[in-house]
Symmetry: C2
Subunit: 245 residues, 2 copies
Amino acid sequence: MTRPSPRTDIAHEALKQAILERALQPGTKLPEDEIGAHFGMSRTLVRAVLAKLQSEGLVDARPKRTAIVAQPTLAEARDVFEVRRGLEAQAVDLVIKRWKPSFGAELEGLVREEDAARERHEEHVAGRLGGEFHIRLAKLSGNVLLERYMSELVTRCSLILAVYGSPHSHDHSGPNEHIEIIAALRAGDAAKAIGLMDAHMSVVERRAMHDTDPASVALGDVLARYAGAIAGRDGAIPLKQKRAK
Amino acid sequence: MTRPSPRTDIAHEALKQAILERALQPGTKLPEDEIGAHFGMSRTLVRAVLAKLQSEGLVDARPKRTAIVAQPTLAEARDVFEVRRGLEAQAVDLVIKRWKPSFGAELEGLVREEDAARERHEEHVAGRLGGEFHIRLAKLSGNVLLERYMSELVTRCSLILAVYGSPHSHDHSGPNEHIEIIAALRAGDAAKAIGLMDAHMSVVERRAMHDTDPASVALGDVLARYAGAIAGRDGAIPLKQKRAK
DNA sequence: ACGCTCAATCTCGTATGCATGAATGGATCG
DNA sequence: CGATCCATTCATGCATACGAGATTGAGCGT
């Protein structure tokens, strides 16, 4: 699961997780210099990372201002969930068409992992696995593009839940719904599976209520923490000096 | 419709059109230097443009090789059409839910434009307008994200048709099908509209047969032509020298 | 005391340079 | 005569430099 580890991927992953876990609250400024300093790379690369995060809807980078963590509006949230419902339905449909017995075990494995994480009170991990379920489902559809889109949608939904959702139920009410969906898939009951999925989405979506104000965070500390967790080391990474000839 | 005109948008639009019109055949190398020279910008910006085109599936830019015009595989083509069918259905559904009388006129206007272009034998323009119909439909759904996805999908479909499709029927068999879809939308008949749309997609999709080899093209000539058409001037644009203090 | 203007500073936009890795053509060997 | 290996050339990866726009804080005026 872990990437090859080009520094640029580390920075991308670190920022993504930091945003999704709300360690970097919406509205937080993300200056290219500072980020580059902490990850040991130049603004050129940071810029690429921020561009990618923007295309994923996690960062808002307007023409000549400092990029900030995205603050999804309710309208955007509605759009995201709407499209996601549609693609989830399609994913379910395709998965049933191309069903193999191994699929059930694979999905159940994920649900178990999520359960385990939740029992360990690792809410963030559990939340991530909850989203992973849907991405895996899309992957099982055999459609790479669908998987990509679903991945992006799940990410955006996570941010939306982090912003508008109730503080601690990070992504899902419980994995029970996932289990039911798996059962319907296994039975080949497309209509029921889609119905369940839709209900599931409703539950997730119906947590668009609260609101919070973007407080200032110690960007440095957060980055160091996340970069460390991912790269396996901590603290700021110094820029690689000119190597000896 | 025309952009504000940052050079970077011009380059992006020019390359996009050149690729979709098959003036730059799949496999054609796209060196950053050369492109930059022709659009009067540095490799830094070209790189950003190429990255965007890659994310749109029009360019293939592998780690350390020169970027090339994308060569979609049949598997990719299948994925694209599959997802597009799903989103088209959803778009139709939403448009009917939020229908306003003005929608019909708007869509019909596009169809008429397409007809006119086709009568003038401007196949490329007609093809573009044919795709535009679907993007507009998605826009009328009121879902910005859906519009974005549809836009990307239509673009990719255009490339696929350019590669695998029959030489001259550039995007659509005819606007008749569009007219029928509009009628169903106006009648609020979601099932029929979705059925028509699906049939329409089938027709478009069923043109995955031929193949062609990537011949070498005079990149310079093509770029000059397309840059001229978009920017309103022609020829290579010299890099802006250091301006006097 | 409050608001406005302007200057100092913080970032971004973009070009360019240097180093490294791929592509290519020629020379050599079988 | 053909294939392979190596050197040269080309194109990219990345950092850095410089100029310009945005931000903000201080000083002035009312």
